[in-house]
């Protein structure tokens, strides 16, 4: 299975860097069948990339979600939130479906962050802890990507994957 992981965020905006930080770590692991991409925002050309893969994981900082991270399946939608400065996962997925002619299973890994207000490099202590948990979860998942379809949404996602491997 060919899986695409996209880490989204700005390394200079505190915990907004969670997505690219995860992507950087995954790239070092060089897991077979896994393509890793990172950008400040999601962008339309990634629709073409999505259509070329069998599953997609979008890793992003989450300002208010579950700790240490949330996991949910993304459904395509038609929204007016599109701008030249970014596109929502839902719109991107809808566009990818038009290009690929079929839906691509897409999941959002929302890593809980806490500090976003300043122009400052470096993750907060809490975000670092959550990043480690998200990385451990994702690494296991990417080594057995067939589990992707069977995982429920948060809560309890980390336990789900552990038990599925037991």
């Amino acid at each position: 299975m060919r899986v695409l992981v996209i880490g989204v965020g700005n390394p200079a905006r505190q915990d907004d860097a969670l997505g690219p930080a995860l992507a950087e770590q995954l790239e070092k692991l060089a897991i077979p069948g896994v393509t890793v991409d990172a950008d400040y925002q999601l962008a339309v050309e990634q629709a073409a990339m999505i259509a070329e893969h069998q599953a997609v994981i979008i890793a992003d900082a989450d300002a208010s979600g579950a700790e240490p991270f949330s996991w949910k399946r993304c459904a395509p939608s038609r929204t007016l939130d599109f701008s030249s400065h970014g596109v929502s996962p839902q719109t991107l997925l809808g566009l990818a479906e038009e290009f690929g002619g079929k839906p691509t299973p897409t999941f959002i890994l929302g890593i809980r962050g806490y500090q976003f207000g300043s122009l400052q490099e470096g993750l907060s202590t809490g975000a670092l802890r959550n990043l480690a948990a998200a990385q451990a979860f994702l690494e296991k998942l990417l080594r057995e990507p067939e589990l992707l379809e069977s995982l429920p949404a948060t809560p309890g996602i980390a336990e789900e994957i552990r038990s599925s491997r037991a």
Binding site: D16, Y40, V44, A48, H85, G86, V87, T91
Partner: protein, 482 residues
């Protein structure tokens, strides 16, 4: 989306399909007519503090984090300023041409993206069409070839940026005094192979936009329109130059206000006014004063200031475009789109010229040994308009001062005027509809403001419209989750 009753004060927050935290406030009089408009834009603040104390050579990399959609513009403007700091204003031919290739790749992808995915839904379906249809997926379904072209053109430009600047998040292509990577023959050949298709698509998009503009010009000419001065870089011979040159400004009649103003002298002509209701400053041309000295930047301004374009197909299109207003500058806000697509074609032609230049393959990438200076200004024509980077560096190589004027700041007053013009025409006291709001956004999107685009984390971008009565009561609220 939630709605309450009628209104005196209308707040749109933020502006949909314009990224980040923008807010439009319409102040209505007793009769429900618009008495004042205010476009609030949240700027990326704190950059000066972030950059102070950093070694100057880090700056071209750090500034890319100001904007995720056009990091190349900040990267190159900062690099040009640092060229001055290291005494290397005249780069090697290879370095200058590779930077130009990077810049035209950026221009190509940005203009293509803007047209296909921000503008085409409005043009193809109409300003007041059902939002469920009037979006990029609607375009992909009804005009699949257009959507594919938009994505592939964006991808082409991005690939050029990757080949010249490196990674998307940590691009390091340009460095003070030059560039650190040449193009390989294989990269060049691949770009050349795809180029004819890109030029065909660029022309096709331009034809579509031109036809639409001319067919609807009776309505579009006055939509969000007003008269203003215009400013951009031009080459010494008056040609359009998006990477380098001197500043030229023309007034609303087309008369030159100043010309061949060196980048380092920008502050002698351009001042910035502060208004108590906005964090964003309002630049103006000093000789005209704060009330009359506002000016526009970006594609429309560049088409109005230059004497000609040095690529044949874009020059033929420029001549046709300028016929819209005779000898005077074109003032229609909606003409930004047509102008932008002329630049898209121009960028494609420039890419073709550069790719056929063997200097791109040379290893002569750096100038060294120049006279070290303590202050440098770099100006570039970014996709959305003139971008000024100004730095001071101390004897320890640390940055002590940074001042940036981005295109959205130059266009602050013009955007406010565009919103006012639309509101005057379409807001008449009736409850605000999505179609009416979209007309306001159509005017703003013509300028494509770069808002505070750095933080986008999930759950942080609700879209809200609030209507507040003269007595301060909240009367109408529209919320769209982003």
């Amino acid at each position: 989306m939630t709605t309450a009753t009628s209104s005196r004060r209308v707040v749109i927050e933020p502006v949909t399909r314009v990224e980040g935290h923008g807010k439009v406030t319409l102040l209505l009089d007793e009769a429900g007519k618009v008495s004042q408009t205010r476009l609030h834009i949240v700027e990326f603040r704190g950059f000066e503090r972030f950059i102070q104390g950093r070694p100057y050579w880090e700056v071209p990399v750090l500034v890319q984090r100001l904007c995720g959609i056009c990091p190349v513009s900040h990267h190159l403007a900062a690099s040009k300023a640092m060229d001055v700091i290291v005494g290397a204003e005249r780069l090697t031919p290879t370095a200058e041409k590779l930077r130009r290739l990077m810049h035209y790749g950026q221009m190509f992808q940005s203009h293509a993206l803007h047209f296909f995915h921000l503008v085409s839904p409005d043009l193809l379906f109409g300003f007041e069409a059902d939002p469920a249809v009037r979006n990029v997926i609607g375009v992909a379904q009804k005009y699949p070839e257009l959507a594919v072209q938009g994505v592939m053109m964006r991808k082409y430009g991005q690939e050029i940026i990757k080949a010249t600047a490196g990674k998307k998040i940590h691009g390091t292509g340009a460095v003070p005094g030059g560039i650190n990577k040449s193009l390989t023959e294989a990269e060049r050949d691949e770009f050349l192979k795809q180029l004819p298709q890109m030029l065909t698509w660029a022309q096709s998009a331009l034809d579509l936009c031109k036809r639409y503009t001319l067919d609807h010009f009776d309505e579009l000419a006055s939509f969000g329109s007003f008269s203003s001065s215009h400013m951009s870089l031009v080459r010494a011979d008056g040609a359009m130059d998006l990477y380098d040159g001197q500043l030229r400004a023309v007034d609303e009649k087309g008369s030159v206000i100043f010309d061949q103003l060196a980048p380092g002298d920008y502050a002698s002509r351009i001042k910035e006014e502060v208004r108590d209701w906005s964090y964003m400053k309002f630049p103006f041309i000093e000789t005209l004063g704060p009330d009359k000295g506002f000016y526009r930047v970006g594609p429309l301004a560049r088409l109005n200031t230059c004497d000609y374009i040095d690529t044949p197909r874009a020059e033929a299109e420029r001549k046709e475009f300028r016929k819209l207003a005779g000898a005077k500058p074109v003032q229609a806000t909606m003409a930004y789109h047509w102008a932008r697509l002329i630049e898209l074609l121009h960028a494609g032609e420039k890419i073709e010229q550069l790719l056929n230049d063997r200097d791109l393959l040379s290893s002569e990438r750096m100038v060294r040994g120049g006279q070290r200076r303590g202050e440098g200004v770099g100006i570039i024509e970014a996709p959305r308009g003139t971008l000024i980077h100004h730095y001071k560096v101390d004897e320890n190589d640390q940055v002590t001062m940074a001042n940036l004027i981005v295109s959205t700041t130059h266009n602050n007053e013009p955007m406010n005027r565009a919103v006012k013009a639309v509101a005057d025409r379409y807001f008449d006291g009736r409850p605000v509809t999505e179609g009416m709001l979209n007309r306001v956004e159509v005017a703003i999107r013509a300028y494509d403001p770069c808002l505070s685009c750095a933080t986008h984390a999930m759950g942080r971008m609700p879209l809200t419209l609030t209507v507040i009565g003269a007595d301060g009561r909240e009367l109408q609220t529209l919320t769209k989750e982003g």
